[in-house]
Symmetry: C2
Subunit: 198 residues, 2 copies
């Protein structure tokens, strides 16, 4: 599990989105983070101007409201880029923390350096914009779901979108992902159970 090997994982992930990236440009050092279950990679409010890559494991993005209520923005399973685009780009504190739900292997680069070194590489930029397109589309879908759908519908959608996660993570996190309390989710599940009995 050396750094070279991990770095190659990251490269091949990027290469899947658009090939011929000239990785020789990249000299900024990779950093390794081993984040154990329930620990935080970084906390809300810190500055996390790094490009993180989740090699293996499972995390959630959690943000806490002024009144202290937790809200799960999303879940992410490796292998996958993670982190806060907003914080990287605007050089401002992150609006959410990243918590490991299972032991996770994560690496990171300083985004400022990474971007400066790679931004003249056309293949990289194209790949970066495809990544942005993708996360934008997901956010747009999520916006729609909150406005148009009931909590019950959102729960059913969650079960389709993350079929394996339903068993793997505590129910309260699912509730906070669909934007309701654990109590309300329990009620909904109860109702669904009765409905399917008929």
């Amino acid at each position: 599990m050396d750094k070279v090997h991990l770095q190659n994982n990251v490269f091949s992930y990027f290469n899947r989105l658009g090939d011929e990236i000239d990785w020789k440009r990249l000299s900024t050092p990779i950093e390794v983070h081993l984040t154990a279950k329930s620990e935080y990679l970084f906390q809300q409010g810190e500055s996390a101007e790094r490009l993180y890559f989740l090699h293996s494991g499972l995390v959630r993005y959690v943000s806490v409201s002024g009144e202290g209520k937790e809200f799960t923005q999303t879940f992410a399973k490796g292998p996958r880029i993670i982190g806060s685009t907003r914080s990287m780009v605007t050089r401002s504190p992150v609006l959410f923390g990243i918590q490991a739900l299972e032991d996770s292997i994560i690496t990171s680069y300083d985004w400022g350096e990474f971007y400066q070194q790679m931004r003249r590489d056309n293949a990289f930029l194209e790949c970066y914009s495809h990544f942005l397109e993708e996360i934008f589309i997901l956010k747009e879908e999520r916006e729609n779901t909150f406005v148009k759908d009931s909590a019950e519908r959102r729960y059913l959608d969650f079960c389709v979108a993350f079929p394996d996660l339903k068993e793997r993570i505590p129910q309260q996190y699912i509730a906070s992902y669909i934007g309701i309390t654990p109590v309300a989710l329990s009620r909904i599940r109860q109702k669904l159970k009765l409905k399917n009995r008929l």
Copy 2:
């Protein structure tokens, strides 16, 4: 108001995000749309794989739920890029229509051709990714607002985010932007009025 002039508007808008774009690459023809107040540039469900630019005027993005309820995703004032990133990128039907709230001058390019012609230009790609970063960040903020804030809070935020629009557009569209019914918005405004009397 000839096409050359309009095209220059679009170019200089892009150039503000990142200069030195080589516009000589671009040969796909620009198209002009004059969309009168309350008319649609395109309707939900159509294919709108074009890069639109709103030169002047005001529009809203409207999507209609299965039950026939309207929801306003956002408002856009010219000059600004408009359209559906999702539809452009995934070549799928748009999930919302664009309706003019005031007479608007809009131009468009076929996105497939535009992108093919410009994608080798580093300055353009960089500028495109900055655009994507920006719209992603806005969506993320909007996601947060729906989960964490009350409708009253969202209304107050709207008034700050679009100070001029409060007077310019019908209240029902504001309601549908913050995700509530016109009746509920009216109630909230009433409550705020009383509160500020004290």
